[in-house]
């Protein structure tokens, strides 16, 4: 009977996996709710606020997609995922889209059968240490204990960085950002490493952020973006173009505040297409005319979302840097909507 139990367990996992596969758009519409995989708790990107509602840079993209597809930004169910559980949650159909600081890599795109539809944050891996450690460069970390989130690309970069600089370290592998931060704060490790944006967000949530410094070295490329399952191209298009609509809105100066006014007065054909006043872009991917207008109206364009959650006016205080629009020397570039 041992064999049967074994196969039973094996199949039980896959029965669950197979059910919610093709036609994500139809599933979401039928359900009347978008299920969005988000971070368990990374301030600024995706974390519950004092009332328990999820807020953040990534969360606003979830809301924009829900507004585009369902017409209501509140119809989102947030599923908190850790570095370890996120891809399983997406592959099994537990979430419709994963917007959780996930790095676009070759093997995730091909072998794991996912599609990274866009890059909503260009990032790189850095190190945070306590000021009184007296370290000013990551290359001085020889012999240090480093806290690291398991199941991430940062784990592999860390090993490569120390190896190429011919220095040693002791890894402490923990399951998610908040636990890693707790260990770092308690002094269980000398340094904490993750994406630089994550470091800034974590630092802001520490008791006295001024006692911690982020070292200047950025040791990797970390393009973070929303992820969908491979094979459902229409759903991927919806998430991708919702994001590009937010980006185009910033480029064209359409904001949450002026969207109605612009819509009634604009003569710019691209803005007209963006806001669904001309042509029928939405129908091409199974949505209505006003999809993008609703998406932008939720929390504004890309720049507004950035400034509201992680920009220089927030405690996290990240500059736009690589994430400025291409017109301002950054890498954020949306293909034309036509």
């Amino acid at each position: 009977m041992k064999k049967s139990v074994f196969f039973g367990a094996l199949a039980a996992t896959t029965v669950l996996a197979g059910s919610a596969f093709a036609g994500t758009l139809d599933d979401v519409k039928a359900r009347g709710e978008l299920i969005c995989g988000v971070n368990v708790g990374l301030t600024g990107f995706g974390a519950p606020d004092a009332t328990g509602a999820y807020v953040g840079f990534d969360v606003d993209l979830c809301k924009a997609v829900a507004a585009a597809v369902l017409g209501d930004a509140a119809k989102v169910k947030y599923v908190p995922t850790t570095g370890e559980t996120r891809f399983t949650a997406l592959a099994s159909g537990e979430v419709d889209v994963l917007i959780r600081n996930s790095t676009w890599t070759f093997s995730r795109d091909t072998d794991l059968k996912f599609d990274f539809v866009a890059v909503n944050y260009y990032d790189g891996q850095g190190f945070m240490v306590k000021k009184d450690l007296g370290v000013s460069s990551a290359k001085e970390l020889d012999g240090a204990t480093v806290c690291i989130q398991t199941g991430t690309t940062t784990e592999l970069n860390l090993a490569d960085f120390f190896k190429s600089n011919n220095i040693t370290y002791t890894p402490v592998n923990v399951a998610d950002d908040s636990e890693a931060l707790r260990q770092y704060d308690a002094g269980a490790c000398d340094a904490y490493t993750t994406d630089a944006s994550g470091l800034a967000a974590s630092r802001a949530s520490l008791a006295s952020p001024a006692d911690h410094i982020i070292l200047p070295e950025i040791i990797s490329k970390e393009p973070l973006g929303p992820v969908v399952r491979h094979g459902d191209n229409n759903w991927g298009d919806i998430v991708r173009w919702t994001y590009y609509a937010l980006l185009t809105a910033e480029e064209k100066g359409v904001t949450k505040a002026n969207i109605d006014q612009v819509a009634s007065s604009t003569t710019d054909p691209e803005i007209k297409r963006l806001l669904g006043l001309e042509g029928d872009m939405g129908a091409m991917m199974g949505l209505d005319k006003d999809w993008s207008r609703r998406a932008i109206a939720v929390s504004g364009n890309y720049g507004e979302i950035f400034e509201a959650h992680i920009g220089t006016s927030t405690p996290i205080g990240l500059a736009r840097g690589l994430n400025a629009l291409w017109t301002q020397g950054g890498l954020q570039y949306a293909p034309p909507i036509r």
């Binding site: 041992k2 064999k3 049967s4 074994f6 196969f7 039973g8 367990a9 094996l10 199949a11 996992t13 896959t14 029965v15 996996a17 197979g18 596969f21 570095g83 370890e84 891809f87 399983t88 592959a91 093997s107 995730r108 072998d111 794991l112 059968k113 450690l133 970390l141 020889d142 012999g143 240090a144 204990t145 398991t150 199941g151 991430t152 784990e155 592999l156 860390l158 090993a159 490569d160 190896k163 370290y169 002791t170 890894p171 402490v172 592998n173 923990v174 399951a175 260990q183 308690a186 002094g187 269980a188 490790c189 000398d190 399952r229 491979h230 094979g231």
Partner: protein
Amino acid sequence: MTLATEPPKANFRLGMLIYDTRYRSYTIQIIVLILFLLGVAWLANNTIENLAAKDKDINFGFLWNRAGYDIDQHLVPYTNDSTHFQALLVGLCNTLLVAVIGCFLSTILGVTIGVLRLSKNWLLSRMMTVYIELFRNVPVVLWIILVYAVLSETRPEPKDFKIVDGTSKASMILNDSFAITNRGTNVPSPLLEHPLPRIELGGYSLNLSVLACIFVVAASIWINRILRRRAAATQEATGIRPTTWWKSLLILFVPIIALLFAMGLHWDYPAFKGFNFKGGLNVAHAFTALTVALTLYYASVIAETVRAGIQAISKGQSEAAAALGLRPGRTMNLVILPQALRVIIPPLISQYLSLTKDTSLGLAVSYLDLRGTLGGITLNQTGRELECMTLMMLIYLIISLIISSVMNAYNASVKLKER
């Protein structure tokens, strides 16, 4: 003239498969077997179809790719250039290390507590009752987290051991050889001045020095057993047991000490340098917490098993032993425990199995055992959930089957021999 009458030949009818008791049980068994096989086929087919729908296959090739991640505690050689399979081995060794140490310590502690709980000393037996009830009635994972939290929150950081102007905030214990920080326990590690050469064996290097030590200790124990058997034979024949204790001591300790002396054993003491302690051996708190918590928890369960075993032995046995003039200690060792073992061992097997499987709770404190490497990091980095999980279940199954077959063999050797 006799009429040869043939016995009426029973024509086989299809209905007999149900109504004839000779065939009915076969019919039922065959039907159940067919249904069972259909079920298995359906599950297997479902798995394959669903994987195909997701454009995935079952492929264990990833085990030979570079792992790329580091593991702090590794008993076999491992770097981030090693393969996922070697990471699996590292995890397996870490699992077995906790399991073996945990089973060993919890047996010693459990037997002691179980015997003490039956003590006539009121205070002692009540204290043991409190211990057992406390540990066995709280989930073991909470004990693991508690031990870990106590170690990591109450101990000073390594930098507090740094000597500034002749003093430091925290100090090492036992003549400056041990340091317990909030990260781990730093203990001296043995070093050899003239170690034996290592043997390269198919990519793995065998440490001959360790093998030599194990061999010498095993040989000493074996010779000592021969000595004791001889002594017992003399006692049977003449009634006088020859003095053996000093011979035993000589046989057990002199060879290993001589060997270690010849190889030039000395200790490498940990010392604070840079960020952390350098030198010596760093035992991470994840390991300590897991081992201590599992030991304490399973000791309470084993203690109850031992108590049940002892109480199953009739009171007349100890009374008879007392009448023969045996002291209580010898009564326990020679009369009660050997009989009680027959009752104790079958449930003890399942306790060992549970302990071994519970080592996977190390994930609560980030201990990189088999679940942490194969079922954690490797699974995440390669995205091969089905393969990793299947392999992991298979390995735990094999470990459990080995433990239970070894223990069953031991059980067979102590059970009542009916002649």
